[in-house]
Amino acid sequence: MNANLAAGILLQFLELIAALVLAPLLSGWVNQCRALLQNRSAPPLMLPYRQIAKLFEKEVVLAGNASSLFRAAPYIIFACMALASLIVPTLSTDLPFAAAADAIALVGIFALARVFIALAGMDVGTSFGSLGARREMLIGFLAEPALLMVFFTTSLISQSTSLAIIVETLGHREFAIYPSLAFAGVAFTMVSLAENARVPVDNPTTHLELTMIHEAMILEYSGRHLALIEWAASLKLYAYSCIGLALFFPWGIPQGVGIETLLIAMPALLFKLAVGGVILALIETLSAKMRIFRAPEFLGTAFLLAVLAMLVHLLLEAGK
């Protein structure tokens, strides 16, 4: 039993390392795909690593009236995202840590990080910072319940809010088609695009301050703080991708703990992430950025679709 627990903790640790290492790679991969799809010459795959390393080297240039909250926020945000990637089952569903936080708590972690980044954006007191913070909270208050409803749909299917059990139910029990997941999947895709500052809602590569959301909040950050925030942003993308894969394509995430299961899980994860990155790049290429006031409509639609997913579950799937 104890050996099992030790192996579990080791695996948990491995999952964290995998997340920290793979997250910038995923961002790099998405950027590369996007460039290729748009007929540009692609940036190197390893660029995000080099950027983070370079930012760590640089000194921090701090605004005079930045408070201690401003300096603490990057660490808190980074810790939140690390915790999030610990909870999402990527390599195994048998994680000792899974009991610590369920799907609702996971949404809570993302909300915590969002509140801190918004507060940090308001801290220096520049016009762009508070503009970004306001927009981020606007996106957040619609995306958060939508994400929660997506989780609720899967929870209703699996009778549990624990992510590990959701994945086990969807991936390992008898194969069944859940129409409600079609709705949940569409809603989840929309939410992830908004939450990760992706194209129809926000543009991660924009240089025009007035259209920024995520970038506007972190304008005042530099050096190691910025490195941590960039890393946290890529961790968030990684965590969302893993949630999507775990909920809608759970095949390949093994139940047990062991070397041989890892040998299956790791390539499966890499393959699914690579395909997911291509799809994300494709969506970003095919859609145009919306006006900021279309964003509530977009997210409202996602929210209502997620609610519909639950209703469809109750009509078509419950009581069978």
């Binding site: 408070s67 980074f78 915790l83 369920d102 507060l119 913070a133």
Partner: protein
């Protein structure tokens, strides 16, 4: 009585302590103007009494109910008092929060603000004592006396700065709605009492709660009693559309009083509603739950979207209280529905969420109101548009209210999240209700609760960000000073409660078990205990679990490890200069987002809910002015028409007033004749 003297019961101790509060209040009248005496001696003593009450009540949780008859009041109508787990829980809230607020008030009272300190001391302690009596009352008579005493003493506290006409107006509105509500409660007790034929045979006096428990009203009368109680207690709690007094009275009152009203007084209404619907009423119909659920949902959404667009910091918190009351009613509605379908374990889960949220809301909302008091004293400013950057001048208040803000936004690992989590869990366990529409309604309701929680986050970021972060919007904010020692102690106490309630949910739920046992006959205590003190799993670990301590430790550990690693491998160099802001050189504090600006997205998204009056400048204005006033539709759709109708009615009655004595004599004469005729007939 003889037994009580031999071995004092918990309820005797409580009564003695309540009496201490009253005596402290009277002691304040001895030297009304002596601030040192009142503030430094009496209020800290009051805080100690509060702690003692909380302690005694805590020990009484889960014990056998104790009763006492006080030979006070009218002849043949003595006060019946009773202490059971439900009263005990709310007494714990009252005592614990009062301890913090009294300490705070000791440091907060200033010369020349409002009425004399001694008088405020009297009103304040009567307010506390009357709330304790409301919670202990065991007959309708004692309950209504305490209830009215509570309304009156809080009215005087609200209008303590009575020279300001706006505050008088707010106080009047508060008193009016409090009394309309009291009528509802009184009538509800009347219906519950029913006939008095049974009582005589059983030796139970009329209008006691024990008598009401023995009545089994049929569906119609039970519904009538329930509806009247919902109306009466809803008016006190601020349920939409009876909420209008709340955002007026809370900002008008001095901050400790707003904290007390929001944290505890609103809870007495919840207590009363729980008492009537789960304890006194023996018949319960499932559809009541649906009504309460819908009302609660509407209140929660309404409160939160108004909270996010306020420009006055105390109004923002007042609307946020409306939201939390809404959430409490959502939980009660769910519990009633489950109870109606005999799903007691689910009812217990929903009720646990409600009671837990009562504790949480009391802790974080009082903390936030006290923080606004400190800001108000430091800056003389309540309007968000004139604050900013206070984290540098008031670090204690800022960091402590950050705790309150995070808790209020329902973020893990603080306490607000736990009750929200429990509430959402009780939604998730629902499928299988034997009624199609209700079954479909539940997910939609869950979605609305999630939306409310998320918007609460928006409002709280606005509250904290605008007050404490950014640059000071006015020059004199540079003179702001941090809160005094006593105020800090109070806020640390309440902030500590927020953290403790968030980190140790298992312990809290074990205590709540006694209350849910009383109300719906089952509890979560056993299920929760089996998971150990670390793991919160209300039904089973496979369904849902949450470990707040691990959660917090991982965040702290990862944060600290990151910090050390970054320092170890790189460096900690910092250069401090002006803000960059993309190279915009002309930056002033006026160019930050204002509170109106921060609320603008919500005004856009939820525009039909608000009644907005905008004043926009023209393109060529030399001195452009922009203003926007956001008001409540209910005021125009419901209250003003009612007021106008009442006005018309009184005008018609005023027609009778002629001013001539002979005409008045004629009225009396005609009345006499008519009465005589009627008797004759």
């Amino acid at each position: 009585m003889q037994d009580a003297l031999a071995a004092p019961l918990a309820i005797d101790w409580l009564l003695a302590l309540v009496l201490c509060w009253l005596l402290l209040g009277l002691a304040g009248m001895v030297a009304q103007r002596n601030l040192r005496y009142v503030a430094r001696t009496l209020f800290p003593l009051g805080a100690a009494v509060g702690l003692a009450i909380a302690g005694v009540a805590f020990a009484a949780l889960g014990e056998v109910p104790e009763t006492v008859v006080l030979p006070l009041g009218l002849p043949d109508l003595p006060f019946h008092l009773r202490l059971d787990s439900l009263s005990a829980l709310f007494l714990v809230i009252l005592g614990g929060i009062a301890a913090g607020i009294s300490i705070y008030a000791a440091g907060y009272l200033r010369k020349g603000e409002g009425t004399a300190p001694g008088l405020q001391c009297l009103q304040y302690h009567i307010f506390l004592a009357s709330m304790a009596l409301v919670l202990l009352a065991d007959d309708a008579y004692a309950f209504m006396v305490a209830w009215e005493l509570m309304a009156l003493s809080s009215f005087f506290l609200v209008t303590s700065d009575h020279r300001n006409p706006e505050i008088r107006r707010a106080g009047y509105l508060y008193l009016l709605i409090a009394h309309i509500g009291a009528i509802g409660i009184l009538l509800s007790f009347g219906v519950l009492q029913g006939g008095n034929d049974m009582a005589a045979s059983n030796g139970v006096s009329d209008y006691t709660f024990a008598h009401m428990r023995m009545m089994h009203p049929d569906g119609f009368w039970a519904t009538a009693a329930f509806g009247l109680a919902l109306f009466g207690f809803g008016a006190k709690a601020g349920l939409v559309p009876l909420h209008v007094w709340l955002p007026e009275a809370h900002p008008a009152a001095p901050s400790p009083v707003s904290a007390m009203m929001s944290a505890v007084m609103l809870k007495t209404a919840i207590y009363g509603f729980l008492r009537v619907s789960f304890d006194l009423l023996q018949t319960r119909l499932w559809w009541w739950g649906v009504v309460v659920l819908m009302l609660g949902l509407f209140t929660a959404l309404f409160g939160v979207i108004f909270s996010a667009v306020q420009t006055d910091m105390k109004r923002l918190l007042a609307y946020s209280s409306i939201e939390n009351i809404g959430l409490l009613f959502v939980g009660i509605g769910l519990a009633l529905t489950f109870d109606g379908f005999d799903m007691t374990i689910l009812a217990a889960l929903a009720l646990t969420a409600v009671l837990y949220h009562c504790l949480n809301h009391a802790a974080f909302k009082s903390l936030l109101f006290l923080a606004t008091g400190a800001v108000l004293h430091a800056t003389k400013e309540r309007s968000l548009g004139k604050l900013g950057g206070l984290i540098h001048k008031m670090p204690w208040v800022a960091w402590l209210s950050l705790l309150g803000v995070l808790a209020s936004a329902g973020l893990p690992p603080l306490n607000g999240f736990v009750s929200e989590w429990l509430l959402l869990q009780s939604f998730l366990f629902t499928p299988g209700l034997p009624h199609g529409y209700i079954n479909m309604l539940i997910p939609v309701a869950a979605a609305a609760v999630a939306l409310t929680a998320a918007i609460a986050g928006y409002a709280m970021v606005k509250f904290f960000g605008i007050i404490f972060l950014g640059q000071p919007r006015e020059e004199r904010l540079a003179e702001a000073h941090d809160a005094g020692l006593l105020e800090r102690i109070a806020m640390i106490w309440l902030g500590g409660l927020c953290v403790a309630l968030g980190i140790f949910p298992v312990f809290v739920i074990e205590q709540l078990d006694a209350v849910t046992q009383l109300l719906v006959g089952t509890g979560l205590g056993a299920a929760v205990r089996s998971g150990g003190w670390l793991l919160l799993a209300p039904v089973s670990e496979n369904r849902a679990s949450y470990e707040p301590l691990v959660f917090l430790l991982v965040i702290l550990a990862v944060g600290a490890a990151t910090f050390m690693l970054v320092r170890r491998f790189w460096h900690g160099r910092v250069r401090i200069t002006g803000a960059w802001d993309c190279g915009w050189t002309l930056q002033s504090a006026r160019m930050q987002d204002t509170s109106e600006g921060f609320g603008q997205p919500l005004r856009q998204v939820f525009s039909p809910f608000y009644r907005m009056t905008r004043e926009e400048p023209g393109s060529f204005d030399k001195a452009p002015r922009y203003s926007i006033v956001v008001e409540d539709h209910f005021w125009y759709w419901l209250y003003l028409p009612v007021a106008r109708a009442a006005d018309m009615g009184t005008r018609m009655v005023a027609f009778l007033q002629q001013g001539r004595i002979s005409v008045y004599l004629l009225y009396s004469f005609v009345t006499l004749i008519v009465l005589l005729f009627l008797i004759r007939g």
